[in-house]
């Protein structure tokens, strides 16, 4: 594994991007024995507004806690896409949602447009689980990179979501995982 792997989730408030990053951080720290740091930036609004959350994963010690050039970005709205896509690391991966992002600026990164929100709405029936679909996508990318097992992220989700919602969340996670697996 590389010294430092940076992941950023970005979207609008209410899409669950902070929880998504927390789950990845927990999966890394608790289920994979890695070091991880999760940070966030958001405005005072509870819904809407910009929301950004990052996780840095490393086998060694992590000094600077924020992402400087993310290796993986999951972007769920247009403003975030415009602002962040250019910051992706060389050879990095960007996954954008095809409902809320319509134009993607040129970038050196490998960019995938996936129906993340649509999957949550139509396959699971709740847009609320958008972040769980995004986590499925993330799990597949991290598994392909050899960073962690997809199952560790699933475990972290199940340990965190409210009782009685495990099945819905797991279904959303699996759907996201399969979306990414079909292409990568």
């Amino acid at each position: 594994m590389r010294d430092r792997y940076e992941i950023r989730f970005a979207g609008s408030g209410g899409q669950g991007v902070i929880l998504a990053a927390v789950v990845v951080g927990e999966a890394a720290a608790i289920y994979e024995g890695l070091n991880s740091v999760q940070t966030q930036a958001y405005g005072p609004e509870a819904r809407g507004g910009k929301s950004k959350s990052e996780v840095v994963i490393s086998r060694g010690s992590i000094d600077y806690p924020k992402a400087t050039s993310p290796d993986l970005q999951i972007i769920l709205n247009q403003t975030s896409c415009d602002e962040f896509i250019g910051q992706t690391a060389k050879g990095g991966v960007v996954v954008v949602d095809d409902t809320y992002v319509s134009s993607v600026a040129d970038s050196e990164a490998e960019v995938f447009m996936l129906p993340i929100v649509k999957t949550a709405r139509e396959k699971i029936g709740r847009e609320l689980v958008t972040n769980m679909v995004a986590l499925g996508v993330t799990a597949r990318v991290l598994e392909k990179e050899g960073l962690m097992k997809a199952d560790s992220i699933k475990k972290a989700i199940l340990a965190r979501v409210p009782k009685g919602t495990e099945e819905m969340n797991e279904k959303a996670f699996n759907a996201g995982y399969n979306l990414m697996k079909a292409i990568r």
Binding site: I30, V37, Y42, D63, Y64
Partner: protein
């Protein structure tokens, strides 16, 4: 058995406090410190402790002082605006020698400033915020693991020296989640205040034990009579105008900490042995600094890293000898220059000072400090 957690800095402070034996929290929620109050509200009842949300910041620290006087290890937590409001009662706790822990999760100021953004603008307020001379013990953690560890130390120091101890955290650290290896409680060193060994009739509340120059502390309700005042008082706790008694009391407030300075001061270094330039940073900024120093080392530059863990007492002698060898110090801070003046004092002109200030609500980027290192090292 140790266990692994993925905690926010604020949550780590709260669990560190409980591990240290904290059983009372009086507070008033304020961003970015509220998670401390939240965890204490949830957890303290489990340990037969008490959490009280008071009507404001002033009452929050007042209740905390009361909790300590009643015999409980007590804490309050706040951020800039609340830290300002607490200063008067902080002074009371210094004067009356009440052990409490006060956490300030720093955000941008002045006034209500920036509730959700980082700054380091309160570090001089930690030293001089309340009026009158007193010794200050203030920790500046820089990781979530360290939040747990310094909170335990803060309680130990408060109990040992009978005075407030401050934890100067910041918004990034308070809200950041990071892996924490929680030590087994059995392995922790926990200090409890010294209680009087005499009978209530013989008790003189502020008469220092000659052994350590510190008066043992009775709890209200134990049967020991004790008068508490913010006025300068004699050994019986009553106000005095006697110059001899005044001099004795005020000198002891300084001496009780200064005499043990070497046991309190803590700092961390990396790559300082052969350094021509040393970056001195604390709190979250230290992590950016360390990243920049490591990158500079990769480029072959002889750069070192020095992080005071205790801002007060400041590790001045320790830094002075390193600074003299290096000759140049870079001091990045999220303010217009506060600790930099203390650092200047510490090194007695033996090193050139390069000050870096950022006051836009964000952390420095490693590249910004790296650039400065390259410029200075040239």
């Amino acid at each position: 058995m140790t266990r692994v957690e993925f905690w926010q800095g604020n949550v780590s402070v709260a669990y560190g406090a409980i591990a240290a034996g904290c059983r009372f929290f009086g507070g008033y929620p304020i961003t970015p410190s509220s998670e401390i109050a939240e965890v204490m509200a949830e957890e303290l009842p489990v340990y037969n402790g008490r959490f009280i949300q008071m009507e404001d910041e002033i009452a929050g620290i007042a209740a905390t002082i009361g909790g300590a006087v009643a015999g409980y290890k007590s804490m309050t937590a706040t951020s800039g605006p609340g830290f300002s409001l607490k200063q008067e009662n902080l002074g009371l706790a210094y004067m009356a020698e009440i052990p409490i822990v006060v956490v300030d999760v720093m955000r941008g100021g002045p006034s209500t400033g920036l509730p959700t953004s980082i700054a380091q603008q309160d570090v001089m307020q930690a030293r001089w915020g309340t009026h009158g001379d007193h010794a200050t013990i203030a920790y500046a953690p820089s990781s979530v693991q360290e939040c747990y560890e310094v909170t335990i130390k803060a309680f130990n120091m408060a109990e040992r020296f009978r005075q407030p101890v401050l934890i100067m955290s910041d918004e990034v650290l308070g809200h950041m989640r990071e892996k924490v290896i929680v030590p087994d409680n059995e392995t922790l060193t926990i200090v409890d205040r010294k209680r009087p060994s005499c009978s209530p009739e013989e008790f003189i509340p502020y008469r220092p034990d000659p052994e350590d120059n510190l008066p043992p502390m009775a709890s209200f309700g134990d049967g020991y009579r004790w008068h508490i005042t913010g006025l300068t008082h004699n050994e019986w706790g009553f106000p005095t105008n006697c110059p001899e008694e005044i001099a004795k009391k005020t000198a002891r407030l300084m001496d009780k900490v200064n005499a043990y300075r070497d046991e309190i001061v803590e700092y961390e270094t990396e790559n300082v042995e052969d350094a021509d330039v040393i970056v001195v940073a604390y709190g979250s900024v230290a992590r950016t600094a360390l990243s920049a120093v490591r990158q500079a080392r990769d480029k072959g530059l002889k750069v070192g890293y020095f992080r005071p863990v205790t801002l007060w007492p400041f590790p001045d002698r320790e830094l002075e000898s390193l600074a003299e060898k290096a000759g140049r110090l870079i001091v990045p801070e999220l303010n217009f220059g506060q600790m930099v003046h203390e650092i200047e004092r510490a090194v007695h002109g033996k090193a050139a000072m390069v000050q870096m200030s950022l006051v836009n609500g964000e952390l420095f980027q490693p590249s910004e400090i790296l650039e400065k290192i390259e410029e200075v090292a040239r």
